[in-house]
Symmetry: C2
Subunit: 216 residues, 2 copies
Amino acid sequence: MTPPTAQQDLTSADAILDAAERLLPRFGYKKTTLDDLAQEAGIARRTIYLHFPSKEEVFLRSIDRVVERLVAELNAIASENASAEVRLWRMLVTRVMSRFDSVRKYQESLDEMLADLRSQYLERRETYFDLEADVLAKVVDEGRRKLGWHVEDPHETARHLVIATNALLPYSLSREERGSRTHVQTQITAVASLLLRGLQAPAAGVVRTRSARGQG
Amino acid sequence: MTPPTAQQDLTSADAILDAAERLLPRFGYKKTTLDDLAQEAGIARRTIYLHFPSKEEVFLRSIDRVVERLVAELNAIASENASAEVRLWRMLVTRVMSRFDSVRKYQESLDEMLADLRSQYLERRETYFDLEADVLAKVVDEGRRKLGWHVEDPHETARHLVIATNALLPYSLSREERGSRTHVQTQITAVASLLLRGLQAPAAGVVRTRSARGQG
């Protein structure tokens, strides 16, 4: 058997992930087998094993890909021509809504997928949050330099923005809570606005972080 | 068989929940049986069924009790003699750290418990968040009336504060992330400070909610 070239590798890995995305809404997570994935992707079952050791790994990689696309989207917003606060606000809203939309077609089976993959997902999540925080930090730093935001460490602050919006990611919501796109959007919009007001505010409130107190 | 009086009812229901709290760190969630609970509580197995239809229900009620205690704690802080911002900040930190401490002894089995009870937990969670938001809303409203915070609907804002700190609740963290009390405390402290700065800030940032825009 000839080993696949790097190009073939990429193509069939992506074809398998595309198949997983199409099959989830149809069969659900539990009922989708490696055979189904191979058939849907139009490849032999053994070809899947060249790329993924298990069905679980296919779906975890599929979540990775959702995040990779999101990070590209965040980078695009970071490079736009708007003010730092507008871009940062949009990035916070996008990190929630882009994920919402990416799982929208398989709402039904998201819970069974998470029940099975929860601990592996939680491990990988740290990497996702770091990637996102890296992009947010650039804009936070810009706000600090150009707009005088009271931020000591842009990357730390970016992590806090990630934390403060994480509870609206699909993973954290019940199926019922995920039911209404408008509701999720209203919530992330309001939370992002509150956080942006916090970033723009003078660091002179009664409740201050230790660093702010030192500077004040 | 004589039915138990209301007093006996309460006493043995609490005794069963106490037993559940003691057994979790010892046996873990999966291995704890209704027989273990009865023996630990010093009651007959059939007495458990007078109070709880299943082992799952015992543990769900035990989570309810953690939240009931927390809400009492939040009410106590709300009634203290400090300024609204100091009290609100402490309430946000407390809603995270109190839960952290309540599950600290059974870190190991929290994940197996959540894997089994995830959907029931998520359903009940809405009620928990409402109870907490009710208490937070009182202090937010005080801040609006006495300190001029730009808040349109105190209960809405309280819900946003709940959302923005929810990602630090034990349920949302991986076992590794739950490992360091100091780390969680550093994060909630910083997030709560950022949110409080947002509440105290003039509603005049470039990014505003629709209502703020209407007023401006």
